[in-house]
Symmetry: C2
Subunit: 364 residues, 2 copies
């Protein structure tokens, strides 16, 4: 246990994960963005782009199934909730630069919020095999894109070991970010009460523990009379936690070369695994794997039946909810927008030569 300190984001003794404990929690939601829940947060105001208050849509795909569509955040993913807090803490700590290792949603969100806060943002990327589309947002928001040789792990290592000397690190080991992400639980509670299950895609494994922390805090105030079971979803080719869970192991089975179409959860060594494991255990939930085929099928069903466009990683939660056939009230968290990963969608078109042919087509 340490006194609050904005420069403290990993244990100074062992390098391990830290968790923020908010004293004097109380429930007085007011206004917009994550700061609506200021009374539940470790800071009482800060940077905002109007993140959160995302749609909670009743799905037609299963009885009791709701989709929390975090693709409707300002930069198109759930990361915005955490960055509102993370960037505020960075600024309060006196930093004028932030740094993240990322190839996707984290980079876009960090770049946008850093811009808003007047901080410089450095995004460290593994050279090669980086989709241009995923960098467009970070570039637009004026982040400095830095390529390094090696895989994502190497980029993260650079950030952890070297970047933190000169810039504030906003990767998901930063516990302040998770304080923003827990607001998803508060929004679900306000609209729906406490569901029976919350199904969350698991990549670097921060979000599921953040959401669980949110529900626990609601319960500690007597607001939830039951707590949801947390279901962590991984893709078959990137399932260090689900694989370990199946075998009853206490530690993840790390994957050196993760493979899945769901790029945002294509992570073999999730840094927040101890927190995720605790969330799943404490809640009475479990980890589950879904195949790429199941993910793409769920993405398609979500788009063609519910009208919601998810990136593949975001649809993984829906894939799991459908596969498991859970009973009761189930909230599947869709973490990112389809526009984040347009290459994952097949497009085909018919041709008509004249108006008669169009009429014929429509008449069918």
């Amino acid at each position: 246990m340490f006194a609050p300190n904005y420069r403290l984001y990993r244990c100074p003794k062992c390098g391990g994960l830290l968790e923020v404990e908010v004293s004097n929690l109380h429930w007085t939601p007011k206004g917009r963005g994550v700061w609506r829940y200021a009374s539940m947060l470790p800071l009482k105001s800060g940077v905002s782009l109007g993140e959160g208050q995302t749609p909670l849509v009743k799905s037609v795909l299963g009885e009791g199934l709701y989709v929390k569509f975090d693709g409707a955040n300002p930069t198109g993913s759930f990361k915005d909730r955490g960055m509102a807090l993370g960037v505020t803490v960075a600024r309060e700590s006196g930093a004028n630069k932030v740094v993240v290792a990322s190839t996707g949603n984290t980079a876009a969100s960090a770049a946008a919020y850093a811009a808003r806060a007047g901080l410089r943002c450095y995004v460290v990327l593994p050279r090669g095999n980086v989709a241009r589309g995923k960098l467009v947002q970070a570039a637009l928001h004026g982040a400095e894109l830095v390529m390094v040789n090696g895989y994502f792990d190497k980029a993260l290592e650079y950030v952890v070991n070297y970047g933190t000397r000169y810039a504030y690190p906003l990767n998901s080991f930063n516990p302040w970010r998770l304080e923003g992400q827990k607001t998803l639980a508060f929004e679900v509670y306000e609209e729906l009460g406490c569901p029976d299950y919350v199904v969350v895609p698991v990549g670097n494994a921060g979000n599921i523990s953040a959401i669980w922390k949110g529900f626990k805090e609601l319960a500690s105030l007597g607001l939830c009379n039951k707590l949801p079971k947390m279901i962590g979803v991984q893709a078959e080719g990137a399932a260090p936690l689900a694989d370990a869970w199946e075998r009853g192991l206490e530690e993840p089975l790390f994957v050196d070369e993760p493979r899945t179409v769901a790029s945002a959860i294509k992570i073999g060594r999730p840094i927040n695994w101890p927190k995720a494991l605790r969330a799943v255990r404490e809640s009475g939930g479990f980890f589950v794997k879904v195949s790429d085929g199941e993910i793409i099928k769920a993405q398609r069903l979500l788009a063609t039946k519910d009208g919601l466009g998810a990136e593949p990683a975001g649809a993984a939660s829906v894939a799991a909810a459908l596969k498991l056939g859970l009973r009761g009230t189930v909230v599947a968290v869709v973490t990112g927008h389809a526009l984040k990963d347009p290459d994952a969608v097949e497009v085909s078109a018919r041709e008509v030569r004249n108006a008669d042919e169009l009429a014929e087509l429509l008449e069918r």
Copy 2:
């Protein structure tokens, strides 16, 4: 004046535009999505994906300047507000198919809402020069993409003259759609009251009249004590209304080959021009042109200073607000998300060979 009829979307006598008049308006906002304002709408419930309630962000770019960021809608543009109404009306009318001519945001939104409502959706596109990225959403949501020879005008002609026999048309001549779009005014009113100016990008010219209608309805209930001046913004190469306004003409100077980087307002013959002209006149506002250079500069400023990612057409309003230097409270409507048009963004990256070089870069 006609009795309400969901199949009535153009004047059966002259083919002209119609406007919906809602009887018994009253102000009792409640809940989420456009249906929050059911008491102000011609229908009291219907299809929703949680559209609206988009961020209203105080800009750092000008005193009194606010950005209404409609890019945070479910499909990433303001079209979702209108489609919630339009698709509901289509369903109530007994249609099982909808049709739109479009190459962009309209197609994506119609496809998503039609999917949600269980209707088939046909998107009619001019062959050639159609950006694949812009079709991905429509395809994902299961719309049937139909290519025709000719320009956008030809596609629209097909829809108007042939499509409407067999399917419900959701292009912006449909006045029911505009009823959904007017909810932007209600949201601005709830957060900010009535501003001095509302600045709106003008393509097919429906949105500016819809927003004006919303403010007028608020005033009719005694809720706004002053009405905003409506500023219509067009791109220099696609400025039929702004060009006519400059010359004091009563009708637009149609453009046969519109040219601008802002594809969503690249329209030479805006079908709703009479409504837009009336909105601007009645409000005491005006039309203004901005160059592609000004648009791209505004997009960049918005991204790097305010942290908001706009597509070029969406940034046109901010470009105009900055150029005009308006005094008082100014709301610039950003109509679509940067992710809609990623090709408009330049990406460049540095390379570092080792951790020392990264440290050096960050130390600067």
